[in-house]
C-alpha cells in the first residue's frame, strides 16, 4: 500500500473515530429534538458534545479510586483536613491498601494505625459493602508550606491501582507578624453579581451628568479582584459550596458544607472534612468568631463558616454544630463524632432567623413570638436550655439585643417574614430591608406605608401577640443589619480582649442573604435595597474600624443572579399601561391579549421602557437621610430583568409584599409548582415573561433536571472581590474562589521566611496522627 493511500485511510479512520467520539448514538441523532418537535433529543450535541460530570474528581479509571481532599485543594500549613482513600466501584473481593505516601515517604503505617484506633464506623467512614474500600484519617495537616504529592496504591482484584493528588500548600497565617490583619469582617452578598452592585449605586447614590454622585463603599475599596464560582460538580453553584469553598480552599459539591464527596452516601456526617480559616484562627490563635445573617441561621452561607455536613438541609444537626452541642439523645450524636467535635469550632456570635431549628416544638414562644404555626425540634430546646447553659445570652428583638452584655457570647434569633399574604420568602428569613424600612416608617411603596392595607402590616400577627400587637410592630422589633453588625463587633471585640490567647483577634462573617432570595422570586427592587443595606453596613464598619490598622474587610459574593439592568421607566407610565397588555387569569394559560385592536402594539408596557437614548437617570430620593431611597417606585425607576426565570408576569412596579412569581395548584392535597404558569395574584395584567426554567419531569426526554424550577436560578458568572485594610492587596487578581482562603491566610500574617517561593517540593509531611 502506498503512503498516500495509507494517509487517506488514516484520515478516514481518524475522521470516523472523531465522529464516533464526539457524536452520539441512535438513528435520530441529527436533530436536537425528537419527532414531536418538543422533546429534546438525547443525542442533542448541545448537551452531549462534551464529557459530563461522570468523573468529576481525579480518579483511577477502572475502580474510581480517589483521595480526599481533591487534588489542587488550596491548603495552608497547619490547616486540618481529613485524608481519605476510597474506591467508588465495587470489586470482586475486598480491596487492600498497599501503599500510601507523601512526597515518596510512606505514611501507610501511620494511616493504618490511625484507622485502627478510630475503629470501623463513622469516625473512619467505613463503607457498608466490603467490596468497596474507604478509610478516613481525621484532622491531619501538612506541617510546612510547599508542594506535596500524595500517592495511594490499592490492590483491587489482583491488580495494583494507583492515584496521585497534588497540593501546593501555603504558609500558615501568623497574626503576630507586623502588618497582619487581626480583626477581619468577611461580607458575603449572596447572589450579588455586578449588575446588582451597579443597580445599588444608581438607585442609592444617583448620578449627575453621567457620573455617579458617589461610589458605593465597596467600590471605594482599594483592592479589587474577581473570583470564579463554579462548584466541584456544577457550573452553577448553590450557596453551600459558594461560601464553603472560599473559606476553606476546597472545591465542594452542591449541597455540601465543608466536606468532600465519599462512597458512604448513607451518612452525610462522615464525609472527609476540611477546616475553615475561621475554625483555624479560633483553634490555633484563640480568635473569636461570629456570623450575622438575615437568612435563617442554619442556612448554607452561615453554616459553612464552621459546620460540616454533606447535606446542607440537615438543619437540626447544623444548629447543634454551631454552638458545639453533641449528645447521643439528639440529632447530633457524640458517639462516632469525636473528630467532628474537635474540628468544628462553636460560634461566639450568631444572629439571624429560623427559630424553628433551635426551639422545642413544645415551646409556646415558637408560635406566639416567632409565628410558626407548626414545626420545632423534638429532641432538645437549644435556645431555651442549651445555649444559656453554654454561656450565650439569647436575644429575640432589637431591645434585647441592645441591652445584652458585650462580654458574653450572643445568640440572636429574630422574627421572620411571616405575613400570610406574602409568599416566596417565608418565616425562616427575616423581613427584607425594604419591608423593615416600611415597618419603621422610613420608606413607602408608591406612597403606601405600614398602615395601608395593601402592605399587610396593620393587622394582628396570626400566631399571637408575643412579638407585638401588629405585624408592623413585630417587624419594627427586628434589628436592621447595621445594628446587628455593630453589636456583633462589640461582642467579638470584648470577648477577644478578655482572652489573652485571642489578643484581640476575631473574624466575623456578615451575610446579606436576601439579595439572593429576592432575586430568586424576581423582586428586583427588594434585592437592590438589600445591596444598599450591605453597602451601608460596609460604610459603617469602615468608619468604626478606620483607626484600626489591623482591620481587614473583604466583600464578595458566592455567585451571581441572572439579573441585568435593561433601562428605566416612568412609574406613572407603568401604572397607566398596566392592563393594556396581557391578562393572566387563574388556571387559564396562555393568557389573553389586552389590546388586540392594534396588532403591532399589543402591549403598551413594552413602550413604557426607556432604553438607549431614552434611559435617563432615575429619580430616587433619600429625603430622610437614612441611606435608603424613600420609595422604590419614584417618578423614574430603574428596570431590571432576569435572564433565567420561570414564567411570570410583571408591570415592573414594586409589589406591596413579596410574592412568588409563578403559579401553583393543589393536586390531591399536595402543592404542585407550575413554573410555566404565572402567579395570577402577582401583577396579573403585566407583561408576560415566558420562562426558560425546567417545568416538569419530562420522562423520556433529556432534561437533566427532573423537577420544576419555579424561581430564577443562580448564574454561573464570575463575581467581584473587594477589600480594604490590612493585607487587602492580597485580593487583587483573577482566581478560583478557593484561592480566597489562602489570600485570607496571607492577610492574617505570614512570616517572610515561610513564604512559598515558587512551587518547591516541601520537606514537610502529614502530621496529626
Amino acid at each position: 500500500m502506498k503512503t498516500t493511500q495509507l494517509s487517506v485511510i488514516s484520515a478516514a479512520v481518524i475522521c470516523a473515530l472523531l465522529s464516533h467520539l464526539s457524536a452520539v448514538a441512535g438513528p435520530d441523532d441529527d436533530s436536537p429534538f425528537r419527532s414531536d418537535g418538543k422533546t429534546r433529543n438525547a443525542a442533542d450535541p448541545i448537551y452531549f458534545g462534551r464529557k459530563l460530570a461522570d468523573f468529576p474528581m481525579n480518579t483511577e479509571a477502572e475502580t474510581g479510586l480517589r483521595i480526599s481532599p481533591p487534588t489542587g485543594t488550596d491548603l495552608f500549613a497547619g490547616q486540618r483536613f481529613d485524608l481519605r482513600v476510597e474506591t467508588q466501584i465495587p470489586a470482586q473481593a475486598a480491596p487492600e491498601l498497599k501503599r500510601l505516601s507523601v512526597n515518596g515517604k510512606s505514611i501507610e503505617a501511620s494511616f493504618t494505625q490511625r484507622i485502627a484506633k478510630q475503629g470501623a464506623g463513622p469516625e473512619t467512614g467505613t463503607p457498608q459493602s466490603k467490596l468497596l474500600y474507604g478509610a478516613t484519617a481525621r484532622n491531619l495537616s501538612f506541617d510546612k508550606p510547599g508542594r506535596y504529592e500524595v500517592e495511594a496504591v490499592l490492590l483491587v482484584d489482583g491488580v495494583g491501582r494507583r492515584i496521585v493528588n497534588r497540593y501546593e500548600v501555603a504558609a500558615a497565617p501568623n497574626p503576630n507578624v507586623a502588618g497582619a490583619a487581626r480583626r477581619v469582617v468577611f461580607f458575603l452578598g449572596d447572589g450579588m453579581g455586578l449588575p446588582l452592585r451597579t443597580a445599588a449605586r444608581i438607585v442609592g447614590k444617583g448620578a449627575s451628568e453621567g457620573r455617579a454622585n458617589e461610589a458605593l463603599a465597596m467600590e471605594k475599596m482599594p483592592a479589587q479582584g474577581i473570583s470564579r464560582t463554579t462548584s466541584f460538580d456544577s457550573i452553577i453553584t448553590d450557596s453551600a459550596p459558594g461560601m464553603a469553598s472560599p473559606i476553606s480552599g476546597m472545591k465542594q459539591s452542591n449541597n455540601a458544607l465543608q466536606v468532600a464527596v465519599d462512597n458512604t452516601p448513607e451518612n452525610p456526617l462522615d464525609n472527609p472534612r476540611i477546616e475553615t480559616v475561621f475554625e483555624y484562627m479560633k483553634r490555633v490563635h484563640g480568635w473569636k468568631i461570629g456570623v450575622v445573617t438575615d437568612a435563617f441561621l442554619v442556612d448554607a452561607t452561615p453554616a459553612a463558616v464552621q459546620s460540616h455536613n454533606r447535606s446542607r438541609r440537615n438543619y437540626l444537626n447544623i444548629a447543634q454544630q454551631m454552638i458545639g452541642y453533641y449528645d447521643d439523645k439528639t440529632e447530633l450524636k457524640k458517639t462516632g463524632y469525636t473528630s467532628l467535635a474537635e474540628l468544628s469550632q462553636p460560634l461566639d456570635v450568631l444572629m439571624g432567623g429560623g427559630a424553628v431549628h433551635w426551639m422545642s416544638e413544645n415551646n409556646p414562644a415558637l408560635k406566639n413570638f416567632y409565628q410558626y404555626s407548626r414545626g420545632g425540634r423534638k429532641d432538645v430546646d437549644l435556645m431555651a436550655d442549651v445555649a444559656p447553659a453554654k454561656g450565650y445570652s439569647v436575644v429575640r428583638n432589637l431591645d434585647e439585643m441592645r441591652s445584652a452584655p458585650v462580654d458574653q457570647k450572643i445568640l440572636g434569633i429574630f422574627t421572620g417574614e411571616f405575613r400570610s399574604t406574602s409568599t416566596g420568602l417565608g418565616g425562616d428569613n427575616l423581613p427584607g430591608t425594604l419591608d423593615r424600612l416600611v415597618a419603621r416608617g422610613a420608606a413607602t411603596i408608591r406612597g403606601k406605608g405600614a398602615n395601608d392595607p395593601e402592605i399587610g402590616m396593620n393587622v394582628a400577627p396570626p400566631g399571637g401577640t408575643g412579638c407585638g400587637a401588629s405585624v408592623g410592630d413585630c417587624f419594627r422589633a427586628v434589628p436592621m443589619k447595621t445594628e446587628m453588625v455593630n453589636k456583633a463587633i462589640s461582642v467579638l471585640d470584648a470577648l477577644s480582649r478578655k482572652n489573652p490567647k485571642s489578643n484581640g483577634g476575631w473574624m466575623l462573617m456578615v451575610e446579606q442573604s436576601q439579595s439572593d432570595k429576592f432575586g430568586h422570586i424576581l423582586e428586583h427592587e427588594r434585592s437592590i435595597y438589600e445591596v444598599i443595606e450591605l453597602d451601608n453596613i460596609i460604610a459603617a464598619t469602615a468608619k468604626r474600624l478606620a483607626s484600626d490598622r489591623q482591620a481587614l474587610m473583604v466583600v464578595t459574593a458566592d455567585h451571581a443572579q441572572p439579573q441585568t439592568i435593561i433601562g428605566v421607566a416612568l412609574t406613572s407610565a407603568l401604572v397607566g399601561a398596566t392592563g393594556s397588555c396581557f391578562t393572566t387569569t387563574d388556571g387559564n394559560y396562555p393568557i389573553t391579549l389586552g389590546s388586540s385592536a392594534d396588532k403591532d402594539r399589543p402591549c403598551e408596557l413594552q413602550d413604557a421602557i426607556g432604553t438607549f437614548n431614552d434611559a435617563t437617570f432615575p429619580t430616587y430620593e433619600d429625603k430622610n437621610g437614612d441611606g435608603y431611597p424613600d420609595d422604590p417606585d419614584p417618578s423614574i425607576k430603574l428596570i431590571i430583568e432576569a435572564g433565567g426565570r420561570p414564567t411570570y408576569s410583571t408591570n415592573y412596579l414594586t409589589n406591596y409584599q413579596p410574592l412568588k412569581p409563578s403559579g401553583s395548584r393543589t393536586d390531591t392535597g399536595k402543592m404542585v409548582e407550575q413554573p410555566a404558569v404565572p402567579n395570577a395574584k402577582r401583577q396579573p395584567e403585566g407583561l408576560l415573561m415566558t420562562g426558560n426554567m425546567p417545568t416538569r419531569d419530562v420522562k423520556g426526554g433529556a432534561n437533566k433536571t427532573s423537577g420544576a424550577v419555579d424561581i430564577a436560578p443562580h448564574a454561573g458568572d464570575d463575581v467581584q472581590v473587594s477589600s480594604q485594610g490590612a493585607g487587602a492587596g492580597n485580593f487583587a487578581g483573577y482566581y478560583e474562589n478557593t484561592s480566597i482562603s489562602i489570600r485570607l491566610a496571607r492577610a492574617m500574617g505570614v512570616d517572610k521566611a515561610k513564604r512559598l517561593s515558587g512551587a518547591k517540593v516541601s520537606s514537610g509531611s502529614v502530621v496529626g496522627w
Binding site: 485511510i9 478516514a12 479512520v13 475522521c15 470516523a16 473515530l17 464516533h20 467520539l21 457524536a23 452520539v24 448514538a25 441512535g26 438513528p27 438525547a42 443525542a43 448537551y47 452531549f48 462534551r50 459530563l52 461522570d54 468523573f55 480518579t59 479509571a61 477502572e62 474510581g64 467508588q88 466501584i89 465495587p90 457498608q128 448553590d238 450557596s239 459539591s253 452542591n254 449541597n255 464527596v261 452516601p265 451518612n267 452525610p268 454533606r310 447535606s311 438541609r313 440537615n314 417565608g426 425562616d428 439572593d516 432570595k517 430568586h520 425546567p694 419531569d697 420522562k699 423520556g700 426526554g701 433529556a702 432534561n703 437533566k704 433536571t705 427532573s706 423537577g707 424550577v709 443562580h714
Partner: protein
C-alpha cells in the same frame, strides 16, 4: 472474485473500524452507577435503572448497596431512567468514553432534582 475498488475499500475499512469500536466487546464500556440521594443520605437498593441510547436498551435493578452494572455499552450518549423503590422517577444522562473500560456515575436524586425551596 469479489473485489472492491480502492475508494470503496477505504470506506469499508473505515466503517468496519467504527463498527468494531462501537460494538466489539473489547471496546465496549461498562457503566457502574449507584442510586443515591446525597441530601437525604439514602442509597436505593432495588431501584431500577434503564439505560437508553444508540438503539440499546438495558434494564437492571440495583443491588443491596444501590449499585447497577450495565456492561457492553458502546461509547456514546445515554439516558438513564431511574425508578426509586418508592415510585419516584427521574432521568439522568451520561456520556461513555471509549478510552475507559469502566465508568462510574452517581445517580444522585438530589443532584438531578432541583433543590428544596430553602436550598438556594
Amino acid at each position: 472474485m469479489f473485489a472492491l475498488q480502492p475508494p470503496k475499500r477505504k470506506i469499508v475499512f473505515a466503517s468496519a473500524l467504527v463498527w468494531l469500536l462501537q460494538v466489539h466487546p473489547a471496546f465496549a464500556v461498562e457503566l457502574v452507577a449507584r442510586v443515591v440521594d446525597a441530601v437525604e443520605a439514602k442509597v436505593f437498593p432495588t431501584a431500577v435503572v434503564q439505560v437508553r441510547g444508540g438503539g440499546i436498551t438495558q434494564r437492571q435493578a440495583a443491588d443491596s448497596f444501590g449499585f447497577v452494572r450495565l456492561a457492553g455499552l458502546p461509547a456514546g450518549a445515554y439516558l438513564l431512567d431511574v425508578k426509586l423503590p418508592d415510585g419516584r422517577e427521574f432521568v439522568a444522562r451520561t456520556v461513555l468514553l471509549s478510552n475507559r473500560k469502566t465508568q462510574f456515575l452517581d445517580l444522585d436524586y438530589a443532584r438531578i432534582v432541583p433543590p428544596h425551596d430553602d436550598d438556594y
